[in-house]
């Protein structure tokens, strides 16, 4: 190997390694440039520097209060929807009758725009956490039901036949064969649901809330503080991204065997 090519190679490797970050930084710089050169006013498209300034103009403790309000509702709704979706899928997989009864109802719930129903839920359940958690749950549970059911139905038939020939009880068939086969599907459902949970919490805050990041964004817009609204929006996306990653970490930690084999 010759001496001069080594630093070049190293540079190329690093560039390749940090390509996503570099792309992102480039994009932000371009955005800043467009705003400065084009003299775009803040109320149309705030520049990244204006957004960063707006972010630090809000006290850290305020951010934490809003973050906690949103996160609390999102996670409660998410957990509730897991608790509903998984038993429901098991039931629907086991019983044809239950499947026939529930499936249309689920589709109806899923195709009803939650944004339109949200004000009615607030009137029924009040302006506190229960209504916000329900709104979040309504948005998140459908992908979970679908992915769990699909996963359990995709269990190889020969495994089911084998367990039946050994006279295994049905609960063992479910817990030891079908659920493990469904794990990769369940986790892809969870990844979709966790980002939807944040959306659900924000939708709920748009209808009734005194704190939370969704409320903060709406509030900032009502005062035409667009850079501040953007700061809230970006903060929200970062949280969403972190939650998405957390689901992946949980899967890698507890169910490493369920991940696709690395080449």
């Amino acid at each position: 190997m010759n001496q001069t090519s080594q630093p070049k190679l190293w540079l190329a490797q690093q560039a390749n390694r940090f390509a996503p970050a570099l792309f992102f930084i480039g994009l932000v710089l371009l955005w800043e440039l467009i705003c400065r050169v084009g003299k775009v006013p803040n109320y149309i498209l705030p520049s990244p520097s204006a957004i960063i300034t707006a972010f630090f103009n809000v006290e850290f403790s305020r951010w934490m209060i809003h973050l906690w309000a949103t996160l609390r509702v999102a996670l409660m709704g998410f957990v509730l929807s897991i608790m509903i979706a998984i038993p429901l899928s098991i039931g629907m997989m086991r019983s044809q009758l239950m499947n026939r009864i529930l499936y249309p109802a689920l589709i109806v719930i899923q195709s009803t725009p939650v944004v339109a129903v949200a004000p009615l839920i607030i009137v029924l359940l009040g302006t506190d956490d229960p209504s916000r958690v329900l709104i979040t749950c309504l948005i998140t549970f459908f992908p979970l039901v679908v992915s769990t059911t699909t996963g359990m139905l995709e269990t190889p038939p020969e495994m089911i036949e084998l367990s039946q020939s050994l006279r295994a009880p049905r609960y063992r068939e479910t817990w030891q064969i079908r659920i493990p086969y469904a794990i990769p599907h369940i986790f892809s459902g969870l990844r979709v649901s966790i980002t939807l949970a944040i959306i659900g919490a924000v939708v709920a805050e748009f209808v009734a809330a005194e704190e939370g990041l969704g409320y903060f964004i709406q509030f900032s817009t009502s005062f035409f503080k667009i850079p501040q609204a953007f700061a809230g929006l970006i903060f929200l996306s970062v949280i969403s991204l972190l939650l998405f990653k957390s689901v992946q970490w949980i899967q890698a930690w507890f169910f490493p065997w369920s991940l696709p084999k690395k080449k």
């Binding site: 302006t127 005062f223 667009i226």
Partner: protein, 326 residues
């Protein structure tokens, strides 16, 4: 915010020796906190409610009908909302909410345009493009104010857009004029200044549309079950309204203390720019805090026409209960 509220209440409770167990009241805003919503915050911060032995908590709302629903279902006791929305609701359904005290005695609706557009009066809007937000109560009154100026809806080109986008649309020239509340004037001026422009405000109250607007409403259950608490609340609230408009800067700071995201100076500017809605010829003639039958009737005539309701769908007097304001 709740915590700050409790802390401040605690402080005022300790300060006042008379307070042992204060009466709890939930106040309903019809929108998010802002300059026109300052009085209730001022009442808490200045201790006006504590003096009356009241512990007040505040819930934000998302429009007049949302606030009405929350008062009607008992989620809050008393609050602010547009009286014409209440009248329209009462005409269609027996909503258990009544107006107890006027707040804006003139309508806050207005047209805004850039000075450079050459538009200086409502008559100049003929053939122009006007943007409004989809759910504002102003839309219902638009045909009436146009009629007062010998125009019809066919004479203008009306487009609907998000409330936050209206002023930028006007400044960038996407629309000739916009419809908004004068509560926003201070913000619009600041935004236009950023782009080196000036704006013209054309309040509808100057061109014939004279009626009660935002008012203090209360749930009938609250008034029946705790009449004496309601009376004390209204007394303290009236005091807070007067204090707010006499001391805009202090009011801005009081609101900022409870809602740190709000800029005290902007709130003070908002309060100054809407003083004319709260204190004007009408309040001078009728006295602050008093509804008159005549103006109530007039308000209902406008509300009925604006909402396409028959004039005898409601006896407007049933929407009001003035016994609590002393």
């Amino acid at each position: 915010m709740k915590k700050a509220l409790r802390v401040s209440l605690l402080a005022s409770l300790i300060a006042s020796t008379s307070a042992i167990a204060a009466d709890q009241v939930t106040f309903q805003l019809d929108w998010l906190p802002g300059g026109d919503k300052a009085p209730v915050y001022v009442g808490i911060q200045q201790g006006f409610f504590a003096e009356e032995d009241l512990e007040v908590s505040i819930a934000s709302g998302r429009g007049s009908t949302d606030a009405l629903t929350k008062m009607a279902t008992g989620q809050s006791d008393i609050g602010s909302s547009d009286i014409s929305a209440l009248m329209a609701a009462k005409a269609q359904d027996d909503v258990p909410v009544v107006a107890v005290m006027p707040y804006f005695t003139q309508a806050p609706h207005a047209f805004f345009a850039l000075k450079s557009s050459g538009i200086s009066s409502i008559k100049d809007l003929k053939g122009k493009k006007i943007a409004t937000s989809p759910f504002t109560s102003s839309n219902a009154f638009l045909p009436l104010v146009l009629k007062e100026n010998n125009l019809t809806e066919d004479d203008i080109k009306l487009v609907k857009s998000d409330p936050g986008a209206l002023a930028p649309m006007m400044i960038t020239g996407n629309t000739d004029a916009i419809i908004a509340w004068v509560t926003n004037t201070a913000l619009f001026i600041a935004q236009a200044k950023e782009a080196g422009k000036e704006i013209v405000e054309m309040p509808w109250s100057d061109s014939g549309l004279s009626l009660y607007s935002s008012s203090l409403l209360a749930s009938e259950r609250f008034l029946e079950e705790r009449p004496e608490v309601a009376e004390r609340f209204i007394k303290a609230f009236a005091k807070a309204v007067k204090f707010t408009y006499e001391n805009p800067q202090t009011a801005g700071e009081d609101l900022h203390k409870m809602v740190p995201e709000v800029d005290a100076n902007i709130v003070a500017a908002q309060i100054k720019s809407i003083t004319g809605l709260v204190f004007n010829d009408v309040t001078e003639q009728d006295g602050f805090g008093h509804f008159t039958s005549e103006r109530i009737k007039q308000t209902w005539q406008y509300a009925a026409e604006a909402n396409g309701l028959s004039q005898d769908a409601l006896d407007p007097e049933t929407a009001v209960n003035s016994r609590f304001f002393k």
